[in-house]
Symmetry: D2
Subunit: 340 residues, 4 copies
């Protein structure tokens, strides 16, 4: 069985495992007060060229979204997101559980449109009933989106600029950040830091066993952030595990290299699919490939390849997703091409 169902099917990159093994019996203080976390933070700050950034390591994506959004919003605030945003659909209501509405705007291939965001804000503040409604308190976007698509630099700048105009933080969910940056020439992680108010660097889907690095970029860390992380059940006792992993990811450019590898492998597959006449859905340049497949072929394909069923396309077709990752090898790619 070939595994292409998602980008978190394996453990971690061998270098990460090596680092965890090497440091395994070292004694350190808990809760992220260790030297590995310190070192990882320094490396990230240097990498994003943001010496004043404040960084926290959390374990998983939903947890991170819940903790960041809830700690930055006031009671009366909601978070604006595309209707297809992870926080709007696939987090089991974790945002609402923390008391906040997810205010959705139409999804354009997974993306928010700046003009629609602006219009919504204009309408909201012009509405006589605004005080009877949830206040738009933050904008959430994912980069890459849940469909693997990317905001152009211009699109990001437009959204960032609206956020500043309305004094709303812009939060970028970077669960697959490496796969986005590797696919976009004119954007760096430093740009992400500069355009956002807070973003997270996804480790779970990019070579770590687990872990997301939350970066507050504008001296805007919520007060008592450690307490808030703990209150959300998100403070790892052995925080050093996160430090060791991110320290490794940000050594010798490993993080972006893994992104490049996955993106190149996806490109090979995409080319092959196109050659063979497959219909791609929501085309994108990152590590996720959405294919329109005849329902008849699903079962047979599924016997050979582990994929994700995405959604019904029409009566006779389905959309499935295959994803490459840091763990995908050229052999996996060749094997899959044979099957396709």
């Amino acid at each position: 069985m070939l595994y292409f169902s998602c980008d978190y099917s394996e453990g971690c990159h061998p270098k990460v495992l090596e680092a965890l093994s090497k440091t395994n019996m070292v004694s350190t203080p808990g809760y992220g007060q260790d030297e590995y976390c310190q070192s990882a933070k320094e490396k990230i700050k240097a990498y994003i060229n943001c010496p004043d950034a404040d960084i926290y390591f959390l374990v998983g994506g939903t947890q991170t979204n819940q903790t960041v959004i809830d700690s930055m919003l006031s009671n009366y605030d909601g978070v604006v997101a595309a209707a297809s945003g992870h926080v709007a659909i696939h987090e089991a209501g974790a945002i609402e559980y923390s008391g906040h509405k997810v205010i959705t705007l139409p999804s354009h291939e997974g993306k928010l449109q700046a003009e629609e965001l602006k219009q919504m804000l204009i309408d909201h503040y012009a509405d006589e009933s605004a005080e009877h409604m949830v206040n738009p308190g933050m904008v959430y976007i994912s980069y890459p989106t849940e469909y693997g698509t990317l905001y152009s630099r211009q699109e990001l700048e437009a959204i960032s600029s609206i956020c500043r105009e309305y004094d709303m933080p812009l939060y970028i969910d970077g669960a697959r950040l490496a796969y986005g940056l590797a696919a976009q020439d004119d954007l760096t992680m430093s740009d992400i830091a500069s355009l956002s108010d807070v973003f997270y660097i996804g480790g779970t889907k990019v070579g770590a066993l687990f872990g997301e690095a939350v970066v507050f970029t504008k001296g805007n860390t919520p007060k008592h952030m450690l307490t808030q992380i703990k209150q959300h059940g998100a403070l790892l006792a052995k925080g050093r595990l996160l430090g060791v992993q991110f320290d490794t990811l940000f050594t010798d450019n490993l993080y972006l290299e893994m992104g490049r590898s996955a993106v190149e492998h996806a490109a090979l597959l995409r080319a092959d699919l196109r050659n063979k006449g497959y219909t791609l859905y929501m085309e994108n340049p990152t590590n996720q490939i959405f294919i329109v497949l005849e329902n008849d072929k699903l079962e047979d394909f599924g016997r050979k390849v582990s994929y994700s069923f995405w959604e019904k396309y029409d009566e006779k077709h389905s959309i499935i997703r295959i994803a490459t990752s840091w763990a995908t090898t050229i052999e996996d790619v060749e094997e899959l091409k044979k099957i396709l």
Copy 2:
């Protein structure tokens, strides 16, 4: 200045005031344990022909929606509503504040469509990611809707039947119940009780100073309901005030009579508006009238009549709402007709 801006501009029906005055110095136990509440409950149960109903009196609509929905849902549940539903927009996020997502479906003149509800449920339970999503745990509809429209008996039956099939309670927000029932010949409050699992009889907008009567119709009262009401800040110390008011509303058919009066006055205005060539928006048979007005005329109209600005219609026109109520007199109607 003529007041047509909403149906809660005045105090209460003279008979309600009289009852409050007459009982004012009587000493009673607090928190709804008094004889007036008891009497009101008996009258409502008889009126809806549901001897086993369990009734609680709360103060206002948002409070009632928050308390009922939160007490009937589990953590993992959300409430399904039309995108235009009061709980989805104009309750300042009170539902999300209590931890639950409002799962929206398209609004068809304010109404949920049974087919779309059914399809959403089919899709949800067929989705492999269903356990990563909020569970649809209840259906919320308002009768009349926020646009004054009414579900037909058939539409209500269809939605009710889907709810039973999926074992989800159907909750009917009856903030303006009297104005709906008075406008629909083939539906009674007893039908509402029978088709729903819980509904509320709105007092605030129909002749009471304040108050909504929540009716659990299927032996389905959440445990420790009094505690839950208190926990939501919704337990009135002098609960007798609610008892006295609802006892009066359900004496000599006052509640429905007030509904009839408002609906008849609205019909007179609607006829006049049509005669004069006004464009009505989202036409409906109840007490709310939505008029498309040229922006130029708004200011002048507003000097003579207090109305509600609803929303922009196009560049040159706006939608405004005027509402009749139990307090509207035929003189008010004639006066308004002169201005129109």
Copy 3:
């Protein structure tokens, strides 16, 4: 049956009823945007000599405590209260429901002790684990306390001074404020305003049908307070009812006069009880009287007088509470004295 079970057994003071009746059919905007609310606020601000105070009218005590505390605290904050505080026991967990811990200190006849508060704060901030604990974010006291006792001016000043030192708001629950101020010569409502950061003037227990006036005294109103009130289900549609009532309570010194009347009647009863050899419990100068009664006598007494059972005293005795109120007449007092 004589009613002495609590101070919210009747409707409202005749003058309040008269004002409600007189204004009943006047049309006003909703949600407290009416002229009666405006007038009431002006009168209160003048009365407390605090022209910059910001005032909101809510319906009941638990609702007010929940809304005020939750809107002033951040996620990581808890509220410090005496173990006997209303928020700690008798509000069905409304504070925890809103996400905040009630951090309790020993109750000294219902009161917090300044020294213990100070020590707790010193200990908390010296604790290496402080960031793993709830942050003490506010101090809650009730005046009078749940036992009818009063903080001396000196005690209040000590607590207020600690709050300022630690930059924590001091919140005074004045559900029975009139009964406290009427019993204490050297303290005025203006002093309460000056010593606290926020307090509320209780109407429900002092002559109103319902209603509590929340006063932010230091330019410290939480942002979007109206939205927050609505989100907590605490925004009354016909806000004018609160305005009319508080306007009346603060006309011709009615609020304090009612307090005086109740306190004088309680004093008469207390003197009689002492004369007759009854044992009083937690003696206090306000409108609540706690009596140690032999269990044998409870039933007979209860047939003649409605009282509150408070708690077991010992195997053979119970503590019961009788309360006078604005509605208690000298005839009621004489009647009760005959029974005692």
Copy 4:
């Protein structure tokens, strides 16, 4: 520097690391749907002799407590705990954040007393105001307690029996379960399963990198538990990491063996401390040792040994904690004895 500050200073037991390394590049489904989780669950069920147990793996202790307690309680419920309980103090208000009060009873060397629990329940249900108070909905105890003390079998049986009488689940926090069971001859994990309704087997402090295994023992798993775990941000994407670890911990009796080792090492230290005349505080038979030390000696001791400051003992003395763990070697013990 010798590390005795806590039992989560190192990574994981070498066998756990080996298993993680060996399975690192295996592809598996996410969210705990993998074969390692399956295998681990089977081993645990066999070990506790409870074939119908339902098991979930979570990442950390506070997260586990929050998720278990919140998913088992209704809105109106609180959780009863000793005042020294972890949920009552050191979880940053995570329980209150989820809406529930922690109802505290006196701590007797870290333990709840059955008699006091019973009396509290009797008093609660006899209280006329019970419906205005938080309902005691669950009992939380930790085994071992936060002070390393252990409930005797008889004590556990008494508490368990009260819980059944009142139909309240008994939840046992086993963050250090191995260290308790290794120190108590007449109690097995199977007994823990039998006496409780839900408990968790702590991995973080006993040889795992992280991880706690929640065991529902009475067919009482809350509905949609996976959704609830996700909603609390507690669902690990690569759930297999938890499966692999617990599978190893429950192979060849490793879990209990690690407990034994730590307990034996603690016993050696305790004997040495007694011999040398140190004063022990809250004596207990498990892996935590509380020592009363002169303040003068703290600094010097701290230069050689990493310990935890616990609390002030008197003006001149402090209580410090040293903890052995699975990682403590006999060499560490000998080294420490030289310093003592």
